[in-house]
Symmetry: C2
DNA sequence: CGTCTAGCTTGACAGATGTCAAAACAGGGT
DNA sequence: ACCCTGTTTTGACATCTGTCAAGCTAGACG
């Protein structure tokens, strides 16, 4: 793997390298999309902290978010998962999991 | 995913979340085993720094090392990869992509 | 307009992380 | 025994990270 590619992919792994973010990803991936209002109460952490972790996942390209009215909805970006899976020598399937 | 499982798996992702370690893994995984003496010169980093990164990979359970005479050899632990792969690879429950 | 709720941003701070130089450790060869 | 090379450990330091409190923004509803 070239340094260039590593610089792109490493942030994705890094984003998954925190137990809170890993659980957030798992929750988001378990349904088509998930509201922040349903994610936050699942953790013993402040709202700003959850918001921070979601931002890390967004900036790593692992999830997308969209505001619809009062609430903000998050969903996974399957192409990012395919990229990671390919690196782990997996049969390239399509989407992420409920983990 | 439960908090417990996340606490076990997150360190593996975290270990891969550094570009240097990702390239080290890639190099080690590309052959049956690889000598530290062949890993170090591939980077513009000091020996101790490479050794530190290898230690992180070891402690995450991603690689094993063995000293044979003068040199130390590293190889991947396939079972760790299977575990990560299982988390990333799954039937598509993916979201409606709105982009 | 005022206000309520949901979510994000800022600022601050303790603790973790990546890096190197220097020193220590391990083997092989002379 | 001595040194020489390869690897790890230790110590130090600047930067990054996870967390919270406080403040801010966005939209809904009277």
């Amino acid at each position: 793997m070239e340094a260039e590619q590593a610089a792109v992919v490493a942030p994705m792994f890094k984003a998954l390298g925190d137990p809170v973010r890993l659980r957030l990803m798992s929750m988001i991936a378990s349904v088509p999309e998930m509201c922040v209002c349903d994610l936050t109460p699942a953790f013993d952490l402040s709202g700003p902290t959850i918001s921070h972790h979601l931002k890390v996942l967004r900036e790593a390209g692992l999830v997308d978010s969209e505001r619809r009215g009062t609430w903000v909805w998050y969903r996974v970006k399957p192409e990012a998962f395919r990229q990671l899976g390919a690196l782990l020598d997996l049969p390239a399937t399509t989407a992420p999991t409920t983990a």
